[in-house]
């Protein structure tokens, strides 16, 4: 989550974006669908010159439509390959609106971000090889709740992060600037000078705010320039920088800026008049620079209530780890997977016609068929390409259902801490193996009175390492809560069309019941019922008994869960991962 801009700023952001859509990258609009968002979009539309397209990219747009490919209709009509331009090429010079950007798949995101970076798209598809210059700005509509957020790679490239949640319709003012004003502002944009001290000040401020990405200062610079152009300033002024800092840097800030105390005129002034001009100039310059820093930081600080930053820091790690657009993967999975070549056959219900391969199959026969058709007197309305039934080729996909291995780790006091280290090691080893098999791994830890999803299903070793490193130990054993969480996640995974496998590492000594109450009997009873839930759902599971002396307790749980029981009193990480792998397969 990022702290974002209020409504009046949203309008300003829309205008500045319209002045330089390509340079500023775009606007991230975090808001539910509704009239407020519509107005904001309308304001952007109104500010853009009419000739510039504003196109909407629906969530599940396929690669062929996004990047371009073979135009089937035209190809068949013309009898030669005809290129269909993709959305990215069509939006050249305008603005691309990404609907439900928070759920966009990473593949789509990469296509868009790389087009933004290179200002061109490269298409190598369907026998076509094209390079097209594309320059566009992006408006990403983010309807995410809580932790759901647009991918960091895209967010990083958009200058403005606007949050319209909580803005009522009445407050939403309409943009008042029209296209012409924007056009003249654009003309002024190129002539605007920006000094080095400006760049230095912006970079210094960005560092002071804990912003790592170097795109942020660049974007700030461009926004400041756009603001100066819009305000008809001859050069970039302090107001422009302050505005740009508030719009671009404030929502990205990771630490609260420390304003330097205004320095007192330092000590005794140099004794006589022998100070050469150069030195004075130097100091003057330094003063100006410092002043600029201060202006920027003050502007950012004004835009940030302190509690926002606290919340932000707390959630920073988590929101990054949250994965994106899983729904996209699910939707496509019917026709996805590893292409396993093409096959001669009928394009029936579920089979996908491979147009390009069909055309290729038909191609060599064209002269022959034309001659034949001419001999049989087939009129002048013959199609350009004669395709017979035996030309049809259908794509085959090898669809292996993805496996998601859910680790449920007992991090309580009773599971001694060194066991936790082994569990961590095993998870990492398994993850490396899972990557090869394109499987996913999730991690749930339970301790104290709750179970927590530490790692949502992922394939990234980097993420897994981070969340594992932060796994603390100690406290009670809320086994029931852990199993419930595992069940919920397994259910979710299954609904996505993946196969869940639960690996539970515990000593089975439950002592916290579902409602958080202490006491062994109730806790065990709850855990039993949670375990039965898993068995009823038919989830493949393994229970690794981590207690130093494996006992009947954990074994009973395993029976109730329908899990394989693996007593591993002295296993190290490698042995553990081997055992789990063997029993999962």
């Amino acid at each position: 989550m990022t702290a974002a801009l209020a409504c009046s700023d949203a309008v300003t952001a829309a205008l500045l974006f319209a002045v330089d859509p390509v340079g500023t990258g775009g606007v991230l609009l975090r808001s539910r669908a509704g009239p407020v968002r519509d107005r904001c979009l309308a304001a952007i539309r109104a500010a853009l010159p009419l000739s510039q397209p504003m196109k909407r990219l629906p969530l599940h747009t396929g690669d062929s439509r996004l990047l371009g490919g073979l135009d089937l209709n035209a190809t068949l009509l013309a009898g030669r390959p005809v290129v269909e331009r993709g959305l990215l090429a069509e939006v050249d010079g305008g603005v691309l609106v990404l609907a439900m950007a928070e759920r966009m798949s990473s593949a789509t995101t990469v296509h868009i971000t790389s087009a933004m970076d290179a200002k061109e798209t490269i298409v190598e598809r369907d026998g076509l090889s094209l390079r097209m210059a594309v320059r566009f700005g992006v408006v990403a509509l983010d309807e995410g709740l809580d932790d759901e957020a647009v991918q960091a790679s895209l967010r990083d490239r958009l200058a403005f992060h606007v949050d319209l949640n909580g803005v009522s319709v009445g407050e939403a003012e309409q943009g008042v600037l029209e296209g012409e004003e924007i056009v003249t502002a654009r003309e002024r944009l190129t002539a605007l000078a920006t000094g080095d001290e400006l760049i230095e000040a912006i970079c210094t401020a960005a560092s002071a705010l804990g912003i790592a990405s170097l795109r942020a200062p660049l974007l700030t610079l461009r926004v400041a320039r756009a603001s100066a152009a819009l305000a008809r300033h001859a050069e970039v002024e302090q107001d422009d920088i302050a505005l740009a800092a508030r719009l671009v840097l404030a929502p990205r800030a990771m630490v609260f800026p420390q304003l330097r105390e205004p320095e007192q005129p330092s000590g005794p002034p140099p004794d006589d008049g022998s100070v050469d001009d150069e030195k004075v100039e130097d100091r003057d310059k330094a003063d100006i620079e410092r002043a600029l820093d201060e202006v920027i930081l003050a502007a950012v600080q004004a835009a940030l209530p302190p509690d926002v930053l606290a919340a932000l820091r707390a959630s920073a790690g988590r929101s990054q780890a949250r994965s994106q657009g899983k729904a996209g993967v699910l939707q496509k999975s019917g026709a996805r997977g590893r292409p396993a070549g093409v096959l001669r056959g009928d394009p029936r219900a579920n089979a996908k016609l491979s147009v390009i391969e069909t055309l290729r199959a038909a191609a060599p026969w064209q002269p022959l068929r034309r001659r034949e058709a001419a001999m049989s007197g087939g009129g002048s309305s013959r199609p350009r390409i004669l395709i017979c039934k035996e030309d049809f080729r259908i794509s085959r996909f090898k669809q292996r259902s993805e496996t998601t291995t859910i680790f449920v780790v007992d991090a309580s006091g009773s599971a001694a801490l060194h066991r936790l280290a082994e569990a961590k090691g095993a998870v990492e080893l398994l993850l490396a193996d899972c990557y090869v098999r394109r499987d996913q791994v999730a991690l749930i830890a339970f301790r104290g009175s709750i179970a927590e999803l530490l790692l949502p299903p992922t394939r990234s070793l980097a993420r897994a390492k981070r969340s594992l490193a932060g796994l603390p130990g100690g406290g009670g054993t809320p086994l029931a809560a852990g199993l419930d969480a595992a069940f919920a996640l397994a259910d979710l995974t299954r609904r996505k069309g993946q196969t869940p496998t639960v690996v539970l590492l515990t000593d089975g000594r439950a002592n916290i019941a579902r409602d958080g109450a202490q006491g062994r009997p109730r806790a065990e009873e709850d855990a039993m019922s949670a375990a039965r839930q898993l068995r009823a759902a038919g989830v493949t599971s393994v229970l690794v008994d981590t207690s130093p002396r494996p006992g009947p307790l954990a074994e009973r749980f395993a029976r109730e869960m329908g899990a394989r029981y693996l007593p591993l009193p002295h296993a190290d990480a490698t042995a553990l991962s081997k055992a789990v792998l063997a029993s999962v397969r």
Binding site: R80, P81, L359, R360, A361, Y435, L461
Partner: protein, 340 residues
């Protein structure tokens, strides 16, 4: 594509720049993988390298960039031409071919030329990206997101140096040896180990965190965006110098002496780290030789090995999940142990 950002104007990122230069001096080192932060100039560096490379000689009209000097590796076309008479040669820029995500298999390996097939009913082969990249660079941005079936294709061709196409009644084989360059962000997923192994060197890229270089990055980037032509012009001299350095290093490469002692140290280093296979030693040796050539040395010294060890070996370590230290630290540790 607009003018590329000049290679010499890239601030910092010394390890990545060095690795790319080494790959330019000796393609046999086997490519570069740059993994790291967003917006740290990975793609910029690769594209900048393209503008920096000296031109190369090819057979005129050859679709596979055949080298007129090596008759043994000619494609079928060139062989036929060579029998008829002398081959014409031309100088072309070294290809740096993009393998974009979302590319389809037919474009990567090549396929039946649809246009000619449909219009004239001819069976002709249209070479793909692999043919275009022969003797040059194949660049994959976001390599960790590349579809699996394309990775499989790449692995096969990268290992054999030859692209064999058997589809649509075509049976074609042509040389396809290229330097694989990949970039990516580890946050978005790991690279498949098999593909990881194909890269000769692997570098970790970080956004600079000291203020002066951050300011310099933004300043240069801004200057470039405002007036690309003037900026490129201002750096042209540096670029020429660097280009000459690469050319000179290539010529020197064959004469660099790798002593037995240096080989032994390389082997000891790999043993200490427990790298799989012999590719580690080979890469280490080749990269150190290229580095020596770049720096106008006559023999490979310990210092060369020491500096090149992290990029050449860090991705070949066995993962040890309980050792939280980064792979760079582990290589450094081993270097300290071997070199004392």
């Amino acid at each position: 594509m607009a003018t590329a950002f000049p290679f010499s104007a890239i601030v910092g990122q010394d390890e990545m720049k060095l690795a790319l230069l080494i790959a330019a001096v000796d393609p046999k080192v086997g490519g570069v993988l740059a993994f790291g932060d967003r917006g740290s100039g990975k793609s910029t560096a690769v594209r900048a390298l393209a503008a920096l490379l000296p031109r190369m000689k090819v057979v005129a009209g050859c679709r596979y960039n055949c080298d007129p000097g090596t008759k043994a590796e000619f494609c079928d076309d060139c062989r036929a031409w060579a029998e008829k008479g002398a081959l014409k040669t031309v100088q072309i820029p070294v290809p740096v071919v993009d393998l974009p995500l979302g590319a389809t298999e037919d474009r990567v390996v090549g396929a039946l030329d649809l246009e000619r097939a449909l219009a004239r009913g001819e069976k002709a082969f249209e070479p793909g990206l692999l043919a275009r990249a022969h003797r040059g660079f194949l660049y994959i941005d976001e390599a960790n997101l590349l579809e699996d079936h394309l990775v499989d294709l790449l692995l096969d061709v990268a290992a054999s140096g030859e692209n064999v196409v058997e589809r649509e009644g075509l049976s074609i084989r042509h040389p396809a040896r290229f330097v694989l360059v990949g970039t990516g962000n580890p946050e978005e997923g790991e690279l498949r180990p098999q593909l990881l192994d194909r890269f000769g060197m692997s570098v970790e890229v970080k956004t600079p965190d000291d203020l002066p270089s951050r300011i310099e990055v933004v300043r240069r980037r801004d200057a470039f965006e405002r007036d690309g032509a003037a900026f490129t012009e201002a750096w042209a001299k540096e670029e020429t110098k660097l280009r000459k350095k690469i050319t000179a290093a290539r010529e020197r490469l064959a004469s660099i002496v790798v002593s037995d002692a240096a080989l032994e140290r390389a082997a000891r280093l790999c043993m200490t780290l427990g790298t799989d296979g012999l590719r580690g030693e080979l890469t280490l040796m080749r990269a150190a030789r290229a580095l020596a050539a770049l720096e106008n040395a006559k023999t490979v010294a310990d210092d060369h090995l020491r500096r090149i060890a992290p990029p050449a070996l860090r991705h070949r370590l066995r993962r040890n999940p309980l050792d939280d230290a980064g792979s760079k630290v582990r290589v450094d540790r081993a270097v300290a142990e071997v070199f004392g």
